[in-house]
């Protein structure tokens, strides 16, 4: 999705993320999505604010909670829903599901089920860009939980050492499944990154303008050869860690905390700012919301209409180069 500084477009994109997740939750409820879904709801300002500062040819790596990043980087909802429904028309031909959606043509180098694992890949991609004298930037998204993964801390060091065009974006939603960040990450998130020599900022991740401004500064620096930087976006996820058919939701946070979080809602916040700054035309906001709804309804229908992969293709795509009787099947006919 293209670079934009237009707040109205940010609003549209954030609504797309939120309503996409509402539909995904309904598809889990109805049993049409077989695996787990980690909803991005509440964190929309982070993905939209950062990706609006990126060009189409910049790349991101994403997380288990990745739908928002993929949509914000231009992922097509219909191919994402098709993936969630395990269809051949999905981004990964139904082989990946929610946690692995990728679209290389849009610089989406994949969501990842292993916390922190995308960060070194983003560094390697950034190095590849630089060796070809391309001014592209790599942005690994990760959560506060990843701040305790060795591979992420190693990646900070690599990025500084090689002065890579990388912008590390930490979505600090304050909680890793049920463990609080305060407890698990002594000393805080941004100071830890700063300790590696990364220019580090901490912004209100419920404020899309603040996120976009910080991302724009960091991306410009990276693109101009100024090296990597780190942005902590303080945010809240509204949902439990994940949802899956038949699974019991575990919410460890208090109702009062959740109430307070919703009062900082990033979408309502931007809508209120737009109202004060320019005023909404009669019906303008409803029209945008309904357009998004219509687009997503069509996307779900596209996904449902897709065919499931043929059982005969179970061994496909493991390797670019195959050999006789390789990969092996699990039993001889």
């Amino acid at each position: 999705m293209s670079e934009t500084g237009d707040p109205l477009e940010w609003y549209r994109r954030m609504q797309r993320l939120r309503r996409f997740e509402a539909r995904a939750a309904a598809l889990v409820e109805s049993g049409e999505i077989v695996g787990a879904v980690h909803e991005y709801t509440g964190e929309e300002a982070v993905a939209v604010g950062v990706c609006a500062a990126l060009r189409e040819d910049d790349i991101i790596t994403s997380t288990h909670r990745g739908h928002g990043h993929i949509l914000a980087k231009g992922g097509e909802p219909r191919r994402m829903f098709a993936e969630l429904l395990g269809r051949e028309s999905g981004y990964n031909r139904g082989r990946g599901g929610s946690m692995h959606i990728a679209d290389f043509s849009r610089g989406i180098y994949g969501a990842n089920g292993i916390v922190g694992a995308g960060a070194p890949m983003a560094c390697g991609a950034a190095h590849a860009f630089r060796t070809r004298a391309e001014d592209r930037v790599a942005v690994p998204f990760f959560g506060d939980g990843a701040m305790n993964q060795g591979v992420l801390l190693e990646s900070f060091n690599l990025a500084v050492l090689l002065s890579l065009p990388v912008v590390f974006v930490c979505e600090n939603n304050g909680i890793a499944i049920t463990s609080s960040t305060e407890e698990m990450t002594p000393g805080g998130v941004a100071p830890r990154a700063a300790g590696f020599g990364l220019p580090s900022r901490s912004v209100d991740g419920m404020d899309v303008r603040a996120v976009h401004e910080a991302a724009t500064t960091a991306v410009r620096r990276a693109r101009a050869g100024g090296g990597p930087s780190f942005i902590e976006c303080r945010t809240v996820r509204y949902s439990v860690h994940n949802i899956a058919a038949g699974a019991l939701p575990r919410e460890s946070r208090s109702e009062a905390f959740m109430e307070a979080a919703r009062r900082r809602d990033p979408i309502e916040r931007l809508a209120g700012e737009l109202d004060r700054e320019r005023g909404w035309r009669q019906g303008e906001r409803t029209e945008i919301d309904e357009n998004v709804e219509g687009e997503l309804d069509a996307a779900v229908e596209f996904a449902r209409a897709g065919r499931r992969p043929d059982a005969k293709t179970a061994l496909d795509f493991m390797y670019a180069a195959t050999y006789p009787d390789f990969p092996a099947r699990g039993w001889e006919p």
């Binding site: 070194p120 560094c123 950034a126 190095h127 690599l158 493991m318």
Partner: protein
């Protein structure tokens, strides 16, 4: 033909690959001032971004290689000692090996995991003595293990230009071996085993440094009237099933010699494969000669007692030939 050492052959392969294709890069620890000579001269000849010294961060620099590959490069990631893949295991088995299928065929991961100094011997003790190839094979990582300088060069070039992740395992005990190596660039194909010695009575499928051990055993067996065929798979995954099956169908007997763990090891896999495919040709039970299922010790006698060598291979061949049982005490830990 001129001769090269195994290490010099690896070095020549890296030089030729980098000269042939600008997207090839080499990264790892101490690449510029390597403790061995396999990366010698690369930094003087090629652009700095293509020869990268990395900090001691195996997980991150392996992930870095994966990402660079996704963005169009062909990285060779060196691990100075084979066991150093363990800190990087997530990036190898959970990322590189799985990404292509998981992403529905999007992207390309032409990464070479270059495992130097694999195996035991010389008091390297528990954490520097592994031959970790069964782990890689189990995870679906294409894995090759050259036994000669000629194959070291050809398989490294093949690994680099394969469009999938490939692990190349270079046994520590072979690095100083010297033999004829063609000067031009050539690629030794994966999934093609090679017969190192012809024989009619028994097939010895031997891996890595056990190839010369098997050849030594075969010479002694020949003087006792037993003709062993020595077959070197070279490529463990994909494996030349038809090539080995043809040899076993001819000889009717099989010994598999593999210096990795016995349980769920490479020899176990090859044995069951051949039992399934060649049962009607077998005149004797298949025998495995492997490492004991223990951590390798520092002290010389107990290090040696846990490792397979030419004597154990010879004993196993005599056993399957039905001439004699292995001498008491000669293979106490190999069963």
């Amino acid at each position: 033909m001129r001769t090269l050492t195994y290490v010099a052959a690896l070095n020549e392969a890296l030089h030729q690959a980098m000269a042939e294709d600008d997207s090839v890069m080499v990264l790892g620890e101490n690449i510029r001032n390597g403790v061995r000579a396999e990366t010698r001269g690369l930094d003087e000849r090629f652009a700095p971004g293509r020869v990268l010294d990395m900090p001691i961060s195996e997980a991150a620099f392996t992930g870095f290689a994966n990402g660079a590959a996704m963005a169009g490069l062909r990285p060779v990631v060196e691990f100075q000692v084979a066991s150093l893949i363990f800190p990087a295991f997530d990036q190898i088995v959970n990322q590189a090996a799985k990404l292509r299928l998981m992403l529905g065929g999007q992207g390309r991961l032409p990464v070479t995991f270059f495992l130097m100094g694999a195996g035991a011997g010389g008091g390297r003790a528990g954490q520097h003595s592994d031959n970790p190839y069964p782990f890689l094979m189990h995870a679906g990582v294409k894995t090759v293990i050259p036994a000669t300088p000629e194959d070291a060069k050809g398989l490294l070039l093949a690994a680099i230009f394969e469009d999938d992740p490939v692990a190349l395992v270079a046994p520590a005990n072979l690095l100083g071996e010297e033999s004829e190596v063609p000067e031009e660039a050539y690629r030794t194909p994966l999934a093609h085993g090679v017969r190192r010695r012809e024989g009619r009575d028994v097939t010895i499928c031997a891996v890595g440094h056990l190839v010369p051990a098997a050849l030594a055993a075969a010479e002694r067996l020949a003087s006792a009237g037993m003709e062993a065929e020595v077959w070197d798979p070279r490529s463990l995954l994909p494996f030349d099933k038809a090539g080995l099956a043809a040899s076993v169908a001819k000889t009717g007997r099989l010994v598999v010699a593999d210096d990795s763990g016995r349980t769920c090891g490479f020899a176990a896999e090859v044995s069951s494969l051949m039992a399934e495919r060649c049962f009607e040709f077998l005149k004797a039970p298949i025998k495995r000669v492997t490492r004991a299922d223990v951590t390798i010790s520092y002290s010389t006698p107990i290090e040696a007692a846990a490792l397979p060598g030419d004597e154990e291979i010879e004993g196993a061949v005599r056993a399957v030939m039905g001439h004699t049982e292995p001498a008491p005490g000669s293979t106490p830990v190999h069963g």
